[in-house]
């Protein structure tokens, strides 16, 4: 089938928002590190959610009738809309709690609820495509890949925020040495944590991608339009190897290695993680486009 671009960007931005928020909650509320990024990461998450939401309406022929979806609670669109609403609400409440200097316990509880909603939303986003009529999509590996993709994008986004914070702190050192040194120590610890999380998310995503390709290879009703050969060596090979593998795994891994080994001769740490984030975002688009291109129905008569 043809690529549904509004849905590609809808799931990409929603995944991005979910990933940033969950990563931020784990890092700041559960691990107690780099708390200074809580507001900015949550704000970015809700903006990403909004951009995704707007993108999804561009797919609709009649968005003005959207409220009719409230009458059919089992559909994928209802689930996605509801989860976006609840997750958005959780972020707003969390931001208000931060703004009003609520207790750590209150913030942690609200953030945890939001994080659970985010994980469910990322899963629901992918689950909407688990359809028996489309053999290449009819697997629970797909929603898990959406969750992994959200995790990877979230980790790299947080890396950028941490690198920026570190950069800002370094400048601040000139003025207030002691405070900046404390902040930098906290950020360094957080950087180590996010490094581990990024590697785990990338490994998780790689395993799921291989599992997904195996599913495509053995899915019932085989057809050339959704064959694994088309993906690996056919007309989708460039999209897969270049977009998904190279940009999704190899480039960010190399750039992250540069960042963490402090090899700043050729490229600064901040630039390194920024490029990594851009790379995984493009890879996210590539994977979603690939998914649509192999998502042919059992029979496509018209």
């Amino acid at each position: 089938m043809s690529i549904q671009w509004p849905l590609v960007f809808f799931t990409l931005f929603v995944g991005l928002g979910c990933g940033i928020f969950v990563g931020s909650v784990v890092l700041t509320e559960w691990c107690g590190k780099a708390k200074q990024i809580r507001t900015i990461s949550s704000s970015i998450a809700i903006v990403a959610l909004g951009v995704g939401g707007v993108s999804s309406t561009m797919h609709l022929g009649h968005p003005e009738r959207m409220f009719g979806a409230l009458g059919h609670p089992t559909s994928g669109i209802f689930m996605e809309s509801t989860m976006i609403g609840l997750f958005g609400l959780a972020i707003i409440v969390y931001l208000l709690a931060l703004r009003r200097n609520a207790s750590d316990r209150t913030c942690k509880v609200i953030a945890t609820i939001g994080a659970v909603l985010a994980v469910v939303l990322a899963f629901v986003n992918g689950h909407a495509y688990v359809i028996a009529a489309r053999p290449a999509w009819n697997t629970l590996i797909l929603p898990l890949l959406y969750v992994a993709s959200a995790g990877v994008m979230g980790c790299f986004s947080l890396s950028v925020l941490l690198a920026r914070t570190k950069y800002a702190d370094t400048i601040a050192t000139i003025a207030v040495t002691e405070t900046a040194a404390t902040a930098e120590t906290s950020t360094t610890t957080a950087t180590t944590t996010i490094k581990r999380a990024t590697l785990i998310a990338l490994a998780f995503q790689a395993v799921l991608l291989i599992a997904y390709l195996i599913h495509v290879a053995v899915a019932p009703y085989p057809d050339i339009t959704r064959s694994v050969m088309r993906v690996l060596t056919g007309n989708l090979a460039l999209l897969f190897w270049g977009g998904v593998v190279l940009l999704g795994f190899l480039v960010p891994t190399v750039l992250m290695t540069k960042f963490y080994t402090k090899n700043t001769e050729s490229i600064s740490p901040l630039t390194s993680v920024k490029l990594s984030l851009a790379s995984v975002l493009v890879a996210g688009v590539a994977f979603r486009a690939l998914m649509f291109l192999i998502g042919s129905s059992i029979k496509q008569f018209f």
Partner: protein, 191 residues
């Protein structure tokens, strides 16, 4: 439970596409949209044993229609007599029903921004007439009726064909109710 559907006798179909034209004309189907389509299956085999048949395709009137389940607004629904219909006033044009259809027999009208499909000419049947494709078929290969009623014409046609010659499209739990008749002496049914 009533289940109106279509039975097509492929032994008789001559591939003239009169059904396509009649449908377009009767329902005002827009340019670029399709409610039914005649495909050519084959030729297959090696000379002199070659086979080919025509396959008129349209909504398979699934008993457990996935398009109805996928529709977020209830625009896609099953009528009392089991026909899958679209309420265009409720359709938001999300096309998830098209994703859910195993046969790709729904069409998106770019002008009205809603999804359309074969209605089995419900408006004609309500007036006691046959659907346009059935009425105009010069080979008389199309039949419409309640497949759950043993006294209906479709049930009689299926019974006369013999169970070995009655075929159904792949079923992924949607239970398509449409049937195709093709005897092996004409051609071998291709899945």
């Amino acid at each position: 439970m009533s289940q109106r559907t279509m039975v097509v006798d492929l032994d008789r179909c001559i591939g003239c596409k009169s059904c396509e034209v009649a449908c377009k004309h009767e329902n005002g189907v827009a340019l670029g949209c399709t409610w039914n389509k005649v495909l050519t299956v084959g030729p297959t085999g090696t000379y002199p044993k070659l086979e080919m048949y025509y396959l008129p395709t349209m909504c398979q009137e699934c008993k457990d229609a996935p398009c109805v389940k996928a529709c977020p607004t209830g625009a896609s629904y099953k009528s009392k007599d089991g026909v899958v219909l679209v309420d265009k006033e409720k359709c938001i044009g999300c096309q998830y029903c098209m994703f859910a259809c195993p046969y790709g027999v729904r069409t998106f009208n770019e002008e009205t921004k809603v999804v359309e499909k074969c209605t089995l000419c419900a408006h004609l049947q309500a007036a006691g007439k046959q659907p346009a494709c059935v009425e105009k078929c010069p080979a008389g290969c199309r039949f419409v009726g309640d497949i759950d009623d043993p006294n209906s014409e479709v049930a009689r046609v299926i019974k006369n064909a013999g169970s070995d010659s009655v075929h159904v499209l792949p079923d992924v739990g949607n239970q398509p109710s449409a049937r195709y008749i093709l005897h092996s002496k004409i051609a071998t049914w291709k899945e």
